[in-house]
């Protein structure tokens, strides 16, 4: 749907069928931490799998807040300049539910925004600067 002129449109509900955006349901996991089990947590793991934070996905994710989810959360928080807590705090959830690009943040586990900046990367930049 294209809106060439958005002025004058009547206010509409958040989406056409009255439901929330796809990831808004994740906000119910606020405060969830390692060791807990919550219905639907598997979908959050699928989210992290889709964007490269969980590699080697099983056929079915469990609803357990396990070590793998905590590790994914920590990397995500690092990438988005959030406090690295490993928990589903409000700040992290507010970021997760935002609309976003479908491309993964981590591709084949090899590149990753903040969390992928290795010592060699910084060394390369250093030499680049020295050269100038």
């Amino acid at each position: 749907r294209f809106f060439p002129n958005i002025t004058g449109l009547p206010p509409l509900p958040f989406s056409k069928n009255g439901t929330l955006a796809p990831w808004d349901a994740f906000t119910k996991f606020a405060g969830c931490r390692s060791g807990e089990k919550r219905d639907g947590l598997a979908k959050l793991k699928q989210y992290f799998n889709e964007f490269g934070y969980i590699q080697n996905a099983p056929s079915n994710f469990s609803d357990d807040f396990d070590d793998e989810l905590e590790k994914a959360l920590r990397v995500y928080q690092q990438n988005f300049n959030l406090n690295v807590t490993g928990e589903l705090d409000d700040q992290t959830l507010q970021k997760i539910v935002l609309p976003r690009c479908g491309n993964a943040d981590i591709v084949n586990g090899t590149t990753s925004m903040n969390s992928g900046k290795s010592a060699s990367f910084h060394t390369t930049k250093h030499f680049h600067t020295t050269e100038h």
Binding site: A21, N79, R100
Partner: protein, 192 residues
């Protein structure tokens, strides 16, 4: 800034690129993409020219819904907005279910789900050219964008990244600025 694994880029002999659309789009919508391409060509030696031949175009742009055959199905309103492939694949797909704002001030849209088309187009073109996602919240290549937000100007991180791949446009004067206005963005993260 980041790159795709292996740092793919358009080769030196393919830097004058053509783009075509899978759909019958209005001139107004096509103009949005033209402006988005211009932002990248202004800082690099790359050029982008529209063509009527979708199948022969270097860059193929299309709006799709749900499962559209590339293994990355779209999810309806908001959520995933678009995706694009690394060089030299050239495919740029946008979620046809979104409420795309083509003109006017997206911030004042009565639709809470309104998404600024040009903002997303500029980001996805960055992928087409070889950039991955950035942790710099001011960068175009930052992965998230709130609804009713406009963010179209390349940040310094974007420019550094793309010029690492292709060099600079001889006419580029070195100035960049990033304007982001939004309603729903709530992050208070520290800038890298």
């Amino acid at each position: 800034f980041t790159f795709f694994p292996g740092t793919p880029r358009w080769p030196d002999h393919r830097q004058d690129l053509t783009y075509g659309f899978a759909d019958q789009l209005t001139d107004e919508v096509k103009a949005v993409f033209a402006r988005a391409f211009e932002r990248w060509s202004a800082v690099t030696p790359l050029t982008f020219t529209p063509t009527d031949s979708y199948f022969l175009a270097d860059i193929k742009i299309g709006f799709f819904t749900g499962d559209h055959g590339d293994g990355e199905p779209f999810d309806g309103v908001l959520g995933t907005l678009a995706h694009a492939f690394s060089p030299t694949n050239g495919r740029l797909h946008l979620d046809g279910a979104e409420d795309w704002v083509v003109a006017g001030d997206v911030r004042t849209s009565p639709l809470p789900s309104a998404v600024d088309l040009e903002s997303v187009a500029v980001h996805e073109i960055g992928h087409l050219l070889g950039l991955g996602h950035s942790s710099d919240e001011n960068a175009i290549m930052y992965p998230t964008i709130s609804s009713r937000t406009r963010k179209v100007e390349l940040g310094s991180d974007d420019v550094e990244g793309i010029q690492y791949l292709y060099g600079s446009n001889p006419n580029y004067n070195g100035s960049t600025s990033t304007t982001s206005t939004h309603e729903r963005e709530t992050s208070g993260g520290v800038r890298d």
